[in-house]
Symmetry: C2
Subunit: 304 residues, 2 copies
Amino acid sequence: MSDTRLLAIDWGTSSARVYELDARGVVVRERRAALGIQRITDGRFADALATLCGDALSQAVPVLACGMIGSRQGWVEAPYCDCPAGIDAIAGALTAVPGTALLIAPGLMVRDAAGVADVMRGEETQILGALPDRPVDQSLYVLPGTHSKWAIAGAEGILTFTTFMTGELYAVLRDHSILGRLAVAGVDNGAFDRGVRMSLREQAALTHDLFSARTLPLTSELASEGVGDYLSGLLVGAEISAARAWAAGNSAAAAGVTLVGEAALCERYRRALTIAGVETVQGSPVAAARGLWRIAQHAGMLPS
Amino acid sequence: MSDTRLLAIDWGTSSARVYELDARGVVVRERRAALGIQRITDGRFADALATLCGDALSQAVPVLACGMIGSRQGWVEAPYCDCPAGIDAIAGALTAVPGTALLIAPGLMVRDAAGVADVMRGEETQILGALPDRPVDQSLYVLPGTHSKWAIAGAEGILTFTTFMTGELYAVLRDHSILGRLAVAGVDNGAFDRGVRMSLREQAALTHDLFSARTLPLTSELASEGVGDYLSGLLVGAEISAARAWAAGNSAAAAGVTLVGEAALCERYRRALTIAGVETVQGSPVAAARGLWRIAQHAGMLPS
């Protein structure tokens, strides 16, 4: 008999990651597949689920997913929970996929200071997984990515969050703008740091400062091999600067943050945050699995 | 005999505009061709010049060009003049193209508050052309475009300027980002105004606010037909907000500006500037021709 007690799936836009957890909530098997919702054609989600889970699916083990699989473009739409949201609220709002054992965790929605909605799908589960067993205070969680998220979370769950389009801006500028055309492949941490510092200064103005990724190589003050990292630094620096103002507006101290996500990207943010004087802690590399385990516990999906 | 006394060419990246001016400096003929420097292959600039000028070239009329034709990627590089730059400095720095009657006006370079170079090529000539005959005070000139320029200019010429990558950011986000994928073709001035207001508020943070072009349609608070104009408004608003801070840092009153450029784009900026409480005047539609005429006069290229 298998030792798997929960099949947990972090099911995103481009890929899916499947975790099998044992009775103690420990990940005993993990695999990744290029079966993100954008790559599934003709609504063949059931086939994708079978491929992702393999034999485990036939063992009457509960299956819980988070991420874009619950979006309007996914399999079945799981409505957003409003923030602040504790784990009980999230566990109480799972959406079942008819004809399968699969349950989908909801995303979260919050209104920013301008009254505009902000959303996340999947990151809420990673934050729940990154929380300590007994959180004492509210603290800051940073999830770098295409759409970077900053969240304030603690004992009561997730209080609020905000999104920055840093990764997407980098990708479109790198691949499609005049700045990208100037860039030559290369790694230049010094150029990254310089971009971060540029965006952290008080008079920083991103749509102007981006042009410096064109003029610095023109005047031979930046090597073409550094343009990509300099551009990345400008964007990450602008994110940190705006996120600090956001944290202050939400009465959160921004002296330290927990980074959650892919190791290389978190390391890049750690560099930038250090320049900004912000201490960082690296969160669990299996935060999504841990978050799904906690949600499943609270939803009564696991034998107690 | 032809009445043409100067062939003036505004020779940019994607297109070129040729003006024939008579003895009074009035444009008597004007044509446009898709012969920008990016479209000229194998260095066939001489052929392009012949095509652009036609018969006029054989009449021993002086020929003066401005714009990217003088860049490193152009025909012959015309070094940048440092700002502040009066018309005499610009007229004294023309670069001759060997074997032709063509002279190329220099671009301008300035250092921003962070010590980083900013550059323009072609806009300096439009600004000189947009200046009144006897400028009294320094005032603000705005040239919207792929790389929008704001300049402070007056009797002594061009004091300083700054670049915003507004047009390029709009194009890459519209064509290559998730925001563009959400957009449906349409014109929505209300959505544009809303984007402008969003970026003009005190806590605006562009890389966060851009995400509202995704969430507002998601929550049915913005029609898909409005996403493109809303995005444009966010970017133009961010430009105006940053440009105001820049103007204040250069002791320039930003209560009124002269807009120079293509009519539809200037109208869009007029809308946005009106929301920001800034009065606008539309500059000459043939500012480049007028600027080239003035430079030619100061360079002694015209019979006095």
